[in-house]
Each structure stands twice: as structure tokens, then as C-alpha cells.
Subunit: 283 residues, 2 copies
């Protein structure tokens, strides 16, 4: 393993294997060709062409969402979408745009719509060295069970912004009170585009840093994290470099932390690949 | 003006207007088509084709550099290259690779070879708020005279690394002693690809932060900066947003500082465009 291997793994999307999903003249997703073909039998919702799929369902957000949900129901039956998550994400051309429809989280990679999340680096300065609070994911998580994770992370559901999601997830995942999470600092965004067995993950992660008081110990309340450990940041980074112990995208969030806090030397042969590779243009 | 306007201005390169300069099977530059055509009468050094220009001069770095220098001399006479700078940059496919040849800095944009530089954010925490030391460029600078600049910035000449360039420029530009500049922290890299009147700037800037002691006042010794001012970081960022007062690429370095230090809110409509747009893939 190397730092760049993690970045490459999260950016394995091959444009030749996918076609755009468009609403009007705006792209809202990327469909792998087999997924696009599976939509051909829903012509009242999607118009499948050789080099693009158009959303043709008409009406307001509620009506379009209901029409897409009927398609998702069929895809779940066919096991092309693993299951309903009963949590919806806004589908929009760009962050801040009005949503075109709401999509169940379980179907997001099938359609390759851009998903937004928040990740929090909870750190401490102990004895001069930086330490990071690291969680271990529960064994029943669908994505990367048992792997190591940030202290708090979560997807931005429809109607939530980044800050509100951070407050909610900080409470559920680590019992961080509102007064403390309010001191978290927005420090950038990590982005990648990855093909998975389900389709395409086109993810943007809002990254926050929070200096944790020495007396605070995180405690999970939603069953998604089984334990938390305070680890020296240098050890965390070395473990990122040499193992696959961390959830796939958490490697990138930790590398971003390492770059911003001067924990990677500019002389490291991978430095520029890391500093540049954590961010892709939001085309 | 907006934040994103500065990023777009630095990334106005249109691939359709340029063809690659290659050495063997590796790209080492981007030639605007008119610049490529001007090389056709040097067939012992460059092979100009319709969709690429190949370096054909043979020999070690010294011999290839000498062959290219003869071409540069002709380009200076024709005023396609403004003048010799008498400072050479290493030309290489990627940072850390062995150089293919050395090129006078004045000819770097003509050939569109990637150039590397260092930029330092010199900051202070006064009364709770961040402040930045900002320089004003001398009126006789060829690029962006009289514009505002970072406290220290400079190109990485051949044989120098990032850290050595930072130490040298910190001494010359701001009289920062070695003991102080040694505390500067490497915090990432900003990259952009820009067409100018001379050709294409394909630049990567190593970014450093340095917390400046309150008793330190920078003093220019090489005539490139006429004065330094300590400005509240919030004012600097607002001035970036609303004016063209800063040197073109310094806008990007300051935006990177603003993102990393939490001076832009995640809710800013331009946040993701800024956080992602300061870094391009190093293709």
C-alpha cells in the first residue's frame, strides 16, 4: 500500500464504462452501462439512449420522487439496489441548487448521483504531539464493517445542511454535546469518484476539525461504532500508508488532515500526489 | 469579482489551443499552437507534428540544455520569449523525476513546462483574530507590478528543493532568519494551468504557513517588495473576493489559507468550488 493507492482506489471511475444521467440540460448522475440498460423498461420515468439517460418524469419534487421510487422498488426486487435505506438524499446538479427529486440513499450509487457527507477529525494535542480519536465500525455495517473510521461521519440527508448533519451525527455517533461540536471548524472538502459493485459513488465530504478537551471521551449511542481509541496521529498516518485498516474514504480524510497539519513533509515523494489528489473538479 | 473568478482566471487553459511537448513517451510541456509552429525551423532539437512536438535533441542534461538554449536565443531575438532571466528551472515529467534538461525561467511559459514555486503565509494571532503579513510588489516587476503578494514567494530553481527555496527567498524577500523560517509548516499545494500572452503556465505552488512572532517586522532586501503591511485576515479575504488587488496566483494561496483556517463558512455558496478548485490533477 501507499498513500496514493488509497486515492487511486477512490478514483477508479472509468468514464468509458458509464453514461450521464441528465435532467433537462444538466447532468445529475453517472449510470454504469448495465445500470442504464436496466432503466429501459421504465420509459415514463427515464429515456435511455446510447450515450445518455434523460429523466422524463414530470412534475414537482414530490411527483418526480414518487415516480423514481417506483423504479427503485423494482430495482430492489431485482437486487440491483440492495435495499431501501429509508433515508433520502437530495438530487441536484450542484450543491446549493434546488433539488430535482429525493432519492433513497440505497439507490444513490445505482444512479451515480453526487452524495454529500460530513467527516470530523477529533484531535488532541498531548505532550506536543497530535492525537486522533478513531472509531471502529460495527460488524453489521454494510460498507466496510469492522474498519477504522473518523470519530464522526455521516451522509447529508435531504433538507439538512452540512452543519446540521454534523451536529446530529456528533450526538448520535460520539455523544459530542452541541456546545462542543459548535467549536468544530470547517477546513475544506475531499472529493472522489469511485465505481463499486452497485454503481458509481460521486462523493463530496465536508471536512471539519475539532480540538477535543482532554476530559472528553466519545461514546457511541447509535450502534454504528463499537469503540473509540485515541491514537498518535503519526501512527494513524503510518497505518494509512501501510494497511487497508481504515474505511476506504477515511484514508483520504486522514491524509487531508495530515497535509493541513504539516504531518507530511513536502519532501515526501508522494506529497504532491496526495495534496492534489484529494480534490477533484466538481464537473 | 468572486472567489471563483480568481480560480477560473488561473485555469483558463483550453486544451484545444495547445499540443503536448513530449520527451520519449512522457509529456513535459504544453505548447500553444503558434508557439509549436515557431519551433518547426529547429528540426535538430524539436520535431513538430500536427498534434505533438517531440524533443529530439540527444545527449545528457547539459547537451540537451545547450541545444534548447540555442532555440531560446532565437526566440528571444524574435521576442517570442521576452528575455533571458538567467535562472534555470528543471524540466521533468513529474516532480522528483530526473530532469530532462534545464530551461531558462524566461522561456518556461513558452514551452508550457510545469514550474514549481513556494508561497508562505506569514500570520499572527492578535487579539483572537488572524492577521496576515502582505507585501506590495515593486513597480518594476514584469508580472503583476504593484500588486499585493504573500510575505515570501519564489520559483524553485534547478537543483533546489522546496525547503531550500523557502529559506533562500525568506531571507532575500523578508529578512526572515533561518531559525524562524525553520518553523514554517508545509500545509499543501495549490495548482493551476493558465494561458498567458507568453504561452501556458502550468504551476504547482508548495504552500507553507508560519506563525510570526509579534516583535518581527519583515524587511525586503532584494528590491522585489516595496513594503509590508499586517492586515486582518478577514479584510484580506474580502479584498480577494471583491478586487483584483492581489497578484493573480496569490488570490489562490490566500483562499487555500482561508479554507484551512476555517475563515470560509461551509455554507458560503462558493465554498465547494473554492475548496475543490485550488487543486488540479497533476496529469
Amino acid at each position: 500500500m501507499s498513500f496514493a493507492d488509497h486515492i487511486r482506489a477512490c478514483n477508479n471511475h472509468d468514464p468509458a464504462r458509464a453514461i450521464p444521467l441528465v435532467a433537462g440540460d444538466q447532468r445529475i448522475g453517472w449510470l454504469r452501462r448495465d445500470n442504464a440498460a436496466a432503466l429501459a423498461r421504465f420509459p415514463r420515468v427515464f429515456a435511455v439512449g446510447p450515450d445518455r439517460v434523460g429523466l422524463v418524469a414530470e412534475g414537482d419534487v414530490d411527483r418526480v420522487s414518487a415516480a423514481v421510487d417506483e423504479v427503485v422498488e423494482a430495482l430492489v426486487v431485482e437486487r440491483r439496489v440492495p435495499k431501501w435505506r429509508n433515508e433520502t438524499f437530495d438530487v441536484m446538479p450542484r450543491w446549493g441548487d434546488r433539488p430535482v427529486f429525493r432519492l433513497d440513499r440505497g439507490a444513490v450509487p445505482f444512479f451515480g448521483v453526487r452524495a454529500y457527507g460530513v467527516h470530523l477529525n477529533g484531535y488532541r494535542r498531548d505532550g506536543g504531539g497530535l492525537h486522533l480519536w478513531i472509531g471502529r465500525r460495527a460488524p453489521d455495517k454494510r460498507v466496510d464493517p469492522n474498519k477504522l473510521d473518523n470519530i464522526v461521519a455521516g451522509g447529508i440527508g435531504n433538507g439538512y445542511g452540512a452543519a446540521a448533519t454534523l451536529v446530529k451525527e456528533a450526538d448520535e455517533e460520539a455523544a459530542i454535546p452541541a456546545g462542543l461540536i459548535g467549536r468544530a471548524v470547517a477546513v475544506g472538502a475531499v472529493s472522489y469518484r469511485m465505481e463499486t459493485e452497485l454503481g458509481i459513488r460521486d462523493d463530496v465530504l465536508f471536512v471539519y476539525d475539532l480540538e477535543m478537551p482532554s476530559e472528553f471521551v466519545p461514546k457511541n449511542t447509535d450502534g454504528e461504532i463499537v469503540d473509540f481509541t485515541l491514537m498518535p496521529a503519526e501512527s494513524v498516518i503510518e497505518r494509512v500508508r501501510t494497511t487497508g485498516d481504515f474505511k476506504f474514504n477515511v484514508n483520504l480524510v486522514i491524509l487531508d488532515f495530515a497535509v493541513r497539519h504539516g504531518l507530511l513533509r513536502a519532501e515526501d515523494p508522494e506529497y504532491l500526489e496526495v495534496a492534489s489528489g484529494l480534490h477533484r473538479s466538481l464537473d
